[in-house]
Amino acid sequence: MDWRILLPLLLLALAVPFPALAGYEARASSGGGEGLQVVVTIPVLADIVSRIAGERAHVESLVEPGISVATYELTPRDSARIEEADLFIYVGYGSEEVLGEYARSIREGAGVVRLLDVLEERGLATEDNPYFWVDPLRIVEVLDYLVGVLSEVDPQGRGYYEANAAELSKALMELDEWIRERVEAIPEDQRLLVTVRDTMRYYAERYGFEVVGYVVARPGTYEPTAKSVTGLLDAILERGVRVAFIEYEEAGTTLREVIEIISEEAGIETVGFLYIESLAPQLGVSTYEEMMRANTELLVESLSLAEASGGRRLYESSFFLLEPFRYDFMVRGTLALILAMAACSLVGAFAVIRGWAIFGDALAHGALAGLVVAYFIGASYYLGALAAGLFVALSVSSVERRTRLRADVVIAVTFVTMLSISIVLLSRSGGATISIEDVLFADVTAVSPEMMARTAVLSLAVIAFTLAIGRHLLVYVVDPTIAAAMGVRTGLLHYSLLGLLALTIVTAFFAIGYVPTIAAMMVPPAAAFILSRRPTEFILKSVSIAIGSAIAGVYASYYLDVNAGASAILFSAGIFALAVAAKKSLNAR
């Protein structure tokens, strides 16, 4: 067997046994332990509960400090912890809720507590804004409930828990007092908050801040829209905001890129981090109180010293065609989307004739695995993804040549293998501060000037090269035998097409995200295929549909407040559907 086939298998074989063994050890050791075992979802909750539980219980968080709950992958070891605990407590929002539901199903409902039920009942938090703990006094109001659930599994401990709760209550009031005093240092007109998510709402209400805006409203979602981003930028400029804050949990996400780009556009500073769900012992934030003090100090320091913003719009216009492009970042995002989709649809047109349409999928997943590996070894994401993409392209074509398996089978095998490698690596490490979903949905509102430059240069290079070899490529994809017989260097063309596919996909992947990339390779060529009789016509229509959809997608994103890349693809799919419908009626005549 070839090393290119062996390597993924070897990686799988190495990676799989570790979580399983670890799970076995955890099971064996927890049997002999003393006292109550309480498992919670996030570190900040673990710290609060452990203050009440004291010596009588051991409280652990499933998600470790420094890791985003969105990237957490469940391992057998953690499943064992959830199953064996005496009590499982979760809040009940976004991806954190998924863990709660999982616990409920494996524990058959016994000893599982969803805090949002009681929080909503008491008017302390909602599903859209569950972050009740950023206001210490809201914690005070649920202490009796927490004492209740602990006492239910450990009735003898009630007195002890009540005493601890009373002590915690006092500490929280002192914390509240301290925050009030510290916040005085911020000029009143500067008590303005801009964050990635709406995480500081209850803090703002308690301490007299105004939440000017955030990139995405609901926990668990990650698709910014052109409308929400432009709207946030407008609000920043109108309210004279001087600083935007980044949550620690968003440190490695696309949403962080979005807020950095907005801030650059507005000429304001971004400051990190505000700790919300996670703690960061390595940065001196090991407890809930330390977290609140660190957040408050950050606000005081940044907001009292910040300079006035120097941000500006490109022009003032409410003409509906121009309005979305008042800011640089929208122009950049739109250009990146147009160029990336044009390159994808051009290369995709040849791939579709060759029967490689689904190849894009395998390549993109390969790139994903490369990205995860690059993250762990600290290499460039782009190069990691590109190397893995080329690796997938070569292994698919070499397996196809060696075996008699059909290309679709080989592609599917490669694609699930690469996806599994990503998941195994992520679960082995307990998650990452990069969120895979964020890379999958890289967004046109988060295109930095460097990203724009790279996308433009590479997309234009791909387009120029493809057009230059287009006529040879066309003969090759239509009739490889005659191409070879006519003296065309088919081996070179084969690998050129593979290389172009990898380069185009990986470039687009980082600029416009995974789904729009794969779709742009297939959907515009598919629609053009139905609508064309001639090769030149096919290629021109394919690229025109892609460019038209990209522009329409941006307008839809702005005016309908939806995601730009996905809407662009829906426009292409709409053209495809219309073409199919027109074709049908043609045959019926």
Partner: protein, 250 residues
């Protein structure tokens, strides 16, 4: 280019030579053809006959340089087609229809134009002269009114005629055809045969690999292969001896 070819023949060299050629696709497998030797001259029409799997396609591919022989020598106009890509351009190769990807946004006209590929400029633009050549070829195979139908809209016979027309616009020195009469209608068969006979009279070599053939009137020579060469000679001598009377039509 044609002048060069004539020169090679004038000096007594045959157009194609196979000398003890053995081709094996995989090391463990028996060879597809073994010890094959023959010579072909310009102005000849030769039928490469034999059962399915007997090595006819392999011989054609070796002559075009798509397959490298394990041993033996292949010469086309005195050159090795595996290494000399230029000599391949003098060959009008007509593959089996099944090797063609008909699910492409391509009209019959575009398919025939591909024969002019080495001369194509721009993306796919043809010169005036090229357009005339394509028009003429399409007319010769009787498909002028079908020129702008998509490949998927053509019948098997029309596709076969289109492939011949594509070879014709290459203005080759020799034609190699892989089962051109496989499951096509009688009209298409006679149009193709007519064109090939015309080309033969213009001094071109025509080599047809076919396991079934109706009209052998124009064939000068038959080479019968079943892994090895079983017989070769004039059709009326060779075919009765092999006990394949079905092949002698008319």
């Amino acid at each position: 280019m044609l002048g060069e070819a004539k020169l090679a023949v004038a000096s007594g060299e045959p157009a194609c030579v196979m000398d003890g050629v053995t081709v094996r696709y995989s090391p463990g497998l028996p060879p597809a053809v073994e010890g094959v030797s023959f010579r072909l001259g310009l102005g000849e029409m030769v039928l490469l006959a034999g059962p399915n799997g007997g090595g006819k396609s392999t011989i054609l591919k070796a002559l075009i340089g798509l397959v490298r022989p394990e041993s033996g020598r292949v010469l086309v106009l005195g050159r090795d087609p595996v290494r000399d890509v230029g000599v391949r351009r003098l060959i009008g190769y007509v593959p089996q229809i099944s090797e063609l990807n008909i699910h492409a946004p391509l009209t019959l006209w575009d398919l025939v134009s591909m024969g002019r590929r080495p001369r194509l400029g721009g993306l796919f633009r043809l010169s005036r002269e090229d357009e005339e050549a394509v028009e003429e070829a399409v007319r010769l195979v009787g498909l002028s009114d079908k020129a702008f139908l998509k490949l998927s809209e053509l019948s098997g016979g029309m596709l076969a005629r289109a492939l011949i027309a594509r070879a014709f616009v290459q203005d080759p020195v020799m034609y190699f055809l892989d089962e051109p009469f496989e499951s096509i209608d009688a009209q298409s068969e006679s149009i193709i045969m007519e064109l090939l006979v015309r080309e033969k009279r213009r001094g071109k070599l025509v080599l047809i690999a076919e396991h079934h053939m109706g009209d052998l009137g124009a064939v000068d020579r038959v080479i019968y292969v079943n892994r090895r060469i079983i017989a070769q000679g004039r059709p009326e001598e060779v075919l009765p001896r092999l006990g394949v009377p079905g092949m002698v039509g008319g």
